[in-house]
């Protein structure tokens, strides 16, 4: 009956393929044959969520278990969500159209702060009580993981347990616990208690936070004996031994990253000071060339995709990149498969690899410069120079490329007008380099796509104590940038500061932000990452309703001794290291890549952590 009803809805929405399911390689299991039915939710639309590598890994890992199944659900777009409410259809999984509330476990990935209202919308559409304490065994255990779980507090009221760090092992452990608890018939509360004892698992209802009068955190303690004071993140030691999907779903509709995605390494040791991923995914772990070639072959056979992406935080740092790129090209040239290297670092062995890549297809080149002057790049420890950029684009233009993307941030600590002017200066130099390339070598149609996003200070980075620029400051700087970026051949894009401001509130938010989030959702906020849905006014109204000042989170400088809401998490890197890096930043002192000498970030405390490379 529900299935037919859903079918009827599909005739009435945009992009029904988002809700169709039944794609090639999706896994269908008999629900009666398993002990745990897991549903994995991505709090954004299908085409965004299906592009996410982590979800694909976990989907594969869970479905490999005989005693469990994993199905998928994505955030229905507003037309579908509204229709589901008016037609009384609960949120359903794609594989079997089972109500999400009927599963044993609901996993939610936290990739982006601005998808938090979608999480509340998902819970509501699934008819799962919004607050953890109102749930019973009739509802799934709600577990959330992903990068934003490193500051879980703004979601503390809505999530039963957070899984912090790499999910490959942790996901299986949580399934084991829930399975055992259900079999033994213990209470849901006891199940949460047992989950809290797993490494990397944080059960917020078992901790209490108190605050000083000025709003800062006074204490943060477990409320029960035996619940760990510190939650240590999970790490997969050897990526070659970690599960990786050898078959992936091939969607009918075009998704954002519609290609094979192979994770060559995890972690990054460059130590860019703004970059949370570079800190929380340490240490660096590489997959072997043999393993990657084998995965590539299997995935090509299983999917029929025409493009492979080598992904990681810094693919250019992969030790054997030239060899891997070469062998992949050789292996798949006949099948006309393109190889793209998206996060290519310019100071790596670029040239050789580029020559390989262009044998099949030309993709656009991306350079994340992040800041306009060498001084500011030193502050943020972005080890790229103007010479690196120019020499790289010189080669690229001579090799027939004509499309270049440049990424910058503005609002970085210590930034001045000179640093902003440096952005225009660099873009101009890239344009001049193109015209200096002999006409017979260069391709027509120069396109320099330059984008500047507003800096958001993140937890577990050396800038976690820094204030974010105010919206007014951002707007001022933006105006200046728009004026100086009127350069022929350059297209300039910038990001809206309002969204970045809220992102900053949640990134470093505490438990009080959970009330703001709920208030905003009740006012109708959802899909805040989509500019056509975002309403800053509603958000401000929500802050007002809760008596919470957003500037307290976004624009306030924290003192060294302030108890930070995420300090109970051991993310590998220590707070002492982060502060040291902050001090060096203020003096524009660079810190070399730790592969060239240990910087004492804290990972050495974990046995074998720094050897897997």
């Amino acid at each position: 009956m529900l299935k037919e009803k859903i079918d009827g809805l599909l005739d009435r929405v945009q992009k029904p393929a988002r809700y169709m399911g039944g794609e090639m390689n999706c896994v269908l299991k008999d629900p009666d044959s398993v002990a745990i039915r897991y549903v994995f939710a991505f709090p954004d639309v299908y085409e965004v969520g299906m592009s996410h590598l982590g979800s694909r890994i976990l989907y594969d890992i869970i479905n490999k278990r005989e005693d469990a199944l994993c199905e998928r659900v994505f955030m229905p777009w507003v037309d579908m969500a509204d229709l589901m409410r008016s037609e009384d259809v609960p949120l359903f999984s794609l594989e079997t159209r089972t109500p999400v509330g009927d599963f044993d476990m609901l996993g939610i990935t936290l990739q982006y702060e601005m998808s938090y209202t979608n999480i509340l919308e998902i819970l509501n559409l699934a008819r799962i009580p919004m607050h953890s304490e109102d749930r019973t065994w009739d509802h799934p255990i709600v577990i959330a993981g992903g990068p934003c779980a490193f500051n879980p507090e703004p979601l503390h009221h809505f999530i039963d347990a957070f899984s912090i760090g790499d999910g490959e092992i942790s996901t299986l452990e949580t399934i084991d616990v829930v399975k055992a608890c259900k079999a033994e018939g213990v209470s849901r509360q006891e199940c949460l208690r047992r989950l809290s004892k797993l490494r990397g698992v944080y059960v917020p209802s078992l901790y209490e936070a108190t605050y000083h009068e000025d709003g800062t955190l006074a204490s943060f303690e477990p409320t029960e004996e035996g619940v760990p004071r510190t939650v240590v993140k999970n790490m997969v030691a050897d990526l070659d031994k970690a599960e990786y999907p050898e078959s992936i779903i091939v969607p009918f509709m075009e998704i954002v990253h519609d290609r094979i995605n192979i994770e060559v390494l995890r972690g990054c040791t460059r130590g860019c000071r703004f970059c949370q991923a570079g800190m929380i995914y340490r240490p660096v772990r590489e997959r072997s060339v043999e393993h990657l070639l084998d995965l590539a072959q299997k995935l090509v056979d299983e999917t029929g995709y025409e493009e492979i992406t080598l992904s990681s935080l810094s693919t250019g740092d992969y030790t054997c990149l030239p060899q891997l790129a070469h062998e992949l090209m050789e292996k798949f040239a006949e099948k006309r498969i393109a190889l793209s290297l998206p996060s290519l670092r310019l100071d790596s062995q670029l040239k050789e690899t580029l020559e390989e890549t262009q044998k099949v297809r030309k993709t656009s080149l991306t350079y994340a410069m992040e800041a306009g002057t060498q001084r500011l790049r030193d502050v943020i420890n972005k080890g790229i120079t103007e010479e690196d950029l120019i020499s790289s684009v010189t080669d690229a233009f001579a090799g027939g490329w004509s499309s270049v993307k440049l990424y910058f941030m503005f609002g970085l600590p210590t930034e001045t007008t000179e640093d902003l002017d440096g952005i225009a200066d660099l873009a101009g130099k890239v344009v001049r380099q193109y015209f200096a390339t002999p006409k017979n070598l260069r391709a027509k149609g120069l396109r320099v796509n330059c984008s500047a996003s507003c800096f958001v200070p993140k937890p577990f980075t050396p800038f976690q104590w820094e204030p974010q620029d105010t919206i007014e400051q951002f707007t001022e700087k933006q105006k200046h940038l728009c004026q100086i970026m009127r350069i022929k051949g350059v297209e300039f894009n910038w990001h809206e500061p309002h969204v970045s401001f809220l992102e900053a509130c949640f990134a470093r938010g505490d438990r009080k932000m959970a009330d703001v989030l709920e208030a905003a959702w009740r006012l109708g906020c959802r899909f805040d990452g989509w500019s056509d849905q975002f309403s800053f006014e509603k958000w401000m109204q929500a802050f007002e309703q809760c008596g919470v000042d957003p500037a307290f989170y976004a624009n306030r400088r924290r003192e060294k001794d302030e108890l930070l809401p995420w300090a109970f998490i051991d993310a590998g890197v220590t707070q002492a290291y982060l502060w040291r890096e902050r001090e060096r930043a203020m003096q524009a002192q660079v810190t070399p890549d730790c592969r060239k000498g240990c910087q004492g970030c804290g990972l050495k405390r974990f046995e074998g952590a720094c050897e897997g490379r």
């Binding site: 039944g22 794609e23 090639m24 009918f252 029929g304 025409e306 006309r336 297809r361």
Partner: protein, 225 residues
Amino acid sequence: MILQFQKGDIVRHLGLLDLQRTMQRALRRSGLPIAYSKGFSPHIVMSFASALSSGIPGDAELLDVGLTDETTEEACLTAMNRVLPPSLAVSRVRLVDDRYPKLGAALQQAQYRITLRGGGTKAVAGAIDGFLAQQEIMALRKTKKSETMVNIRLMIHELTAAYDETQDCAVLTARVSFVEAATLKPELLMESLCAFAGAQPERCEIRRTALLGLVDGKPVPLIDL
């Protein structure tokens, strides 16, 4: 080779581009000796007999794919069903040479099964004889370029109904023209018929059951020309 495949109910919303991409990837997975076009960005040489609108399922859709090497119909059938989801299962393969007519050009008629339920179903089903007895049935035919009133009676080659009293359900079989200058969409046919009957069924499900060419004036499945 010509593939006859279904566009099942659950994938009825796929548009032509989605279906094209899905078939291309399936062909790449199949291991069959698929022909690629020459040129800067090579692609698989393939063409559908006809694009089926998003929202309408089909029982016997056709795709013509170029091959570079010898193979058998059975091998193709097995290979394709291994790489396609059940909702797009291939029911038949016919290996043909280059002299076989191009499917799109040979297409003359399409057959639909239209299932009506509830509401004015009985009245609509009962009105068919009278509807067909008209010399002229004028209807507004919309194309991308224009809207013109045309006589659709000439485009209806067969229209019958089987009415089931207990279910209040009628299954109509409609065979209509499907050539560039005169294609009668099943939705337009139903609109005219319902207007004539002065009744509206509660539900109307359309499904394409055959793509036909003409041999000596008689309809023949395109795959059997």
